[in-house]
Symmetry: D2
């Protein structure tokens, strides 16, 4: 059994890591920390875990993880970078589910996250944990930056088109929508049921932190830098992201050709599922599972890609476990074979 730890286990990515790891055949959660809930049984805070864990939250302290092979950070932005150097020195592998190590350009990071980076020297070696792009690097990495939820859904949809060079990188539009769990489990008026129920809105249209992350990922596949318009929206529900992606083709290309391109690109990917052309994926199709469903449409001149994930799974905890499997030499699908809950 591989022993792992979780820093910051009381948020939604924390409980989702615990839920998925409880069913992982080769992994044991050794330690889960929380400043606020130290001493509380995890199953008391999250009663869905009753019978699956006999484990209490402990005060965060770097020594707690010494017998762990790998540690997940499910903490707010800016926390992991304080402890990662110590843990790496202790020979522990790290997956950060927050944004501390996602951007390669330190200036861009500091601008968008509004703080000074604590360990910029680690950014170069950090591997961006999108396995469909960086599998080989992830396998060798000590430190993996787990992608954001929107960036996962958007990149997986645009990548085959950009790699094939058939769309104009300077006319990309991503109209993305997320359930409220993406905003985390913290006291906040804006994400109360009373504020988010039975209503729909765009937010952060003039700038969202996931925009530079997506651009960085897409730029690796284009000569001209991408020009992406990214508009996030809040859906009155808990889990799920749907991204509707718009692109202009650079030459005449049929829907069948694009469909083949996607099929081919993702044929060996266990967690990307290309639906028949003109399908309409629903977020519930992937609720609770580590899967991205994609579907391609081509009304008129524009290519439209529909991409759905569960923001807490393929958009966070599930992808982190996929990365852990790769980093630790386990079968990539280990612990990730569940079936989505529908209805």
């Amino acid at each position: 059994m591989i022993k792992v730890g979780i820093v910051g286990g009381t948020g939604y990515t924390g409980v989702e890591l615990l839920r998925l790891l409880a069913q992982h055949p080769q992994v044991q959660v050794q330690t889960v920390t929380s400043r606020a809930k130290a001493g509380t049984q995890v199953a008391e805070l999250f009663p869905n875990l009753r019978g699956h864990f006999d484990l209490a939250f402990t005060e965060p302290a770097q020594e707690k993880f010494t017998d762990c092979e790998l540690v997940f950070f499910a903490t707010p932005n800016g926390t992991a970078m304080q402890s990662v150097p110590y843990l790496l020195n202790a020979g522990i592998k790290i997956i950060d589910l927050a944004a501390d190590f996602r951007l390669k350009d330190i200036a861009v990071w500091e601008q968008w996250y509004g703080m000074e980076h604590a360990c910029p020297h680690l950014l170069e070696e950090t591997v961006y944990g999108l396995p469909e792009v960086n599998r080989a690097e992830i396998a060798k990495a000590r430190l993996v930056a787990n992608p954001g939820c929107y960036p996962t859904a958007v990149q997986l949809g645009f990548l085959p088109l950009l790699e094939a060079g058939i769309i104009d990188p300077q006319r990309l539009i991503a109209d993305a929508k997320s359930g409220v769990s993406g905003a985390g489990r913290k006291a906040n008026v804006a994400t109360l049921m009373g504020e988010t129920g039975e209503s729909f809105k765009a937010y952060n249209v003039s700038g969202h932190r996931h925009w530079p992350e997506i651009c960085q990922g897409l730029n690796a596949y284009t000569e001209k830098p991408v020009d992406l318009t990214f508009v996030p929206h809040l859906i009155p529900m808990i889990r799920g992201i749907e991204a509707t992606l718009y692109a202009s083709t650079l030459r005449d290309i049929s829907l069948e050709e694009i469909q083949s391109l996607f099929i081919q690109r993702y044929q060996n990917e266990p967690f990307v599922d290309v639906l028949p052309a003109q399908s309409h994926p629903e977020t519930r199709n992937v609720r609770g599972v580590n899967m991205c469903q994609l579907a391609i449409h081509q009304p008129h001149k524009t290519v439209v890609i529909l991409s759905v994930i569960d923001n807490l799974v393929k958009g966070a905890a599930g992808q982190a476990i996929q990365n852990m499997n790769i980093m630790c030499g386990l079968p990539e699908t280990s612990g990730l074979t569940g079936v989505a809950l529908l209805p």
Copy 2:
């Protein structure tokens, strides 16, 4: 008191007409028909109307409306066109909330609605009931085609830009999202709570009936025909449409200039409200009221317009009453002065 009738009062646009007309100071609902519910009190089917109506549904029959000045059709597509000629001959004004008279091109209509039109000779005189565009014609009309819900939200957002000639009409994208009430109140697996709750999806991406209606409306303001990509989505909630509109400007233009353009265009419109630039309108802001809230953003090169309406009010029954007010010489805001329900 102006006497009006409603054909087909058991759907969501029917009950919404009744709710709004109950509060209209100059109008009395004389007759409301329903084949299925004839004999039932309207307040029995819709208990929110208790104390506001002492009226039963009656069998539909054209003679029932002889003392009405105006009749609303809140019927499925293809129904109004059977009775409209008779009622017009009887001197009764008509507002059709369905799609029978929305498209000027009979061939296009028959293709999208899959039936033969019963009175194509009326299409020419029919006025498309978007008051912000056709107020003067509506005032003189006998027959008004009330716009669809998506077309209302999308046209009001694009029109100022197209009229000013500052965007490329061949690169329009409308990413639109609607609550489930837009699909009506009929037995249907696809709109069960179990199918639509806690999930989000695009639908009809390859073709939606509102697409030709929007194009027809926008084409009146451009030399080159518009090329519009229109993707509708279903939100897990009941009421509200949010449309996120994307356009490419033809010249350098600042956000301030665009904002002024919108302010000016809608300054005398009682039911279009231009929010401060970079606002994020929520559908709940207009829940239950006849209002379109618009907000303009300009991240990077693309102009992004956010447009929200209540699909059952400005997108259906409220706009119909606005049209009735204009057609009958009443103050345009009469009966439409309520405040949206938030939260």
Copy 3:
């Protein structure tokens, strides 16, 4: 025009007062205070109020209300009692929507609310603002304690049975369910969409502050003190309370007899609507309006009363305006004639 003020206008009862008063023909809101939002336009914080108010929140200060005839407190428990004596001395009438003045027994109040009462001498003159019980006293009152939401729904359901002496007061059960807005608009993990959506639970089963308030109200109509089991639950929605009330009859009595009793008891009440026996009122029937719908069932030996209100209207702001109308000599239904929003 009667001038009124609102202390603490940024919560859900605050915005609901503003929504309803915007439509009140004889009342003008002069002042609305908020420590946190002083300087902000009310229509900026609550965009549903755009076009209805040109008014900014101001710092709370007792002098601000000197030209008001009446002041509403829409503040957390414990706030109103600090300022009420000053305002009463200034000749201003008060309606407190919080709990400061609801309980007559100071010891019970201090036990349940966990603080010392600032003006216990005012408790005696305070009138409990349930108009269906205390209309005459309210008309003469300077200080009205607006009832809690659960207490309104529960008392209106039990009262006719207790007044008639036909049920055992020592075997009362109220199984009550509320939308999340009842918990207010404050940052709180427990009422996030992520915590309350798609889930249902009982809470505070061993003791809820509304229990002594309900008992106090019911005890006035019984010789033996009532023994009430009160279990509140949280519904994954925003607005509405449904209370299912169970009582044991003391003698054989038919459903028809009980139905007549209710009809008679509430025949002159504008805001209590007794549905036909065996109806099933839905909370949406009264969404946004000041109405309590009741229905009576008698399966087997037990009488079952179903009671629905909108917790923010008849359970808070609407009832407060009803009390204001009575206190100020206005028609009781003034400003409260809207139609519920369904669907």
Copy 4:
């Protein structure tokens, strides 16, 4: 591998059986029938099953099941009884998830279900599939009637109290609430999102088919027949039942004593979880898993039991698989070890 079949796989209990059986290590679904969807791949109708099943719905025909050891009926009431005799004769075990075999008294069954029973001679040998009560009989049964969803939640809550003889069986109240999936996946106005969203109501207060089923189950444990008042309600969500149960104790008994009683009664039950006294179980704690969480309260004189299940799992498909495991000699928890999805 045990081969099983499913009759009627297109409803919510059908897809839930498929979801759970996809993860069952010792069972293979051989055949799944549907008249309406014959020829369609199950993963096309239910895209959450993509990658888990390569199986199409087939026309229902009794011969299709000849190589199955066990067949589940996930059909409407009245369907299973037509085919069960044939299949039993062919040596196939049966679990009926509908109500055809739940009631022992044929007259009561025919009264509540409004049809003639097709094989009343089988009612005696049928075992009511509540493993916590009838485990030994289930192990030997050919034909198991899987309990209703409400009856599961209510019986598990009342049974320890009735078995111990400490409550008055003639004063039982069950106030039960269910998500909308309990009404099934069929075209129906009453369960549209537009009708059930953002609203709450009681229904069938004067009589629900689960009432005689609950009474039959409870009567086995009392001398005096139970008198149960059962009020079901509809929650605006998809999955989950919460039942709040009220009972009067026959003697003084402490909360601790009652808690011990429950702990002892269910100590060996893998799928009943007694929470610490005075807990508040939420339906999401058991979303997607075969578990009943119970909590005991004792405010004043009344005992209050809170019981939550997922209506589609412990209330239907999960309990059916639990019964299958017992009937087929598999470990009772096989395929049922998942963790609930929270949030």
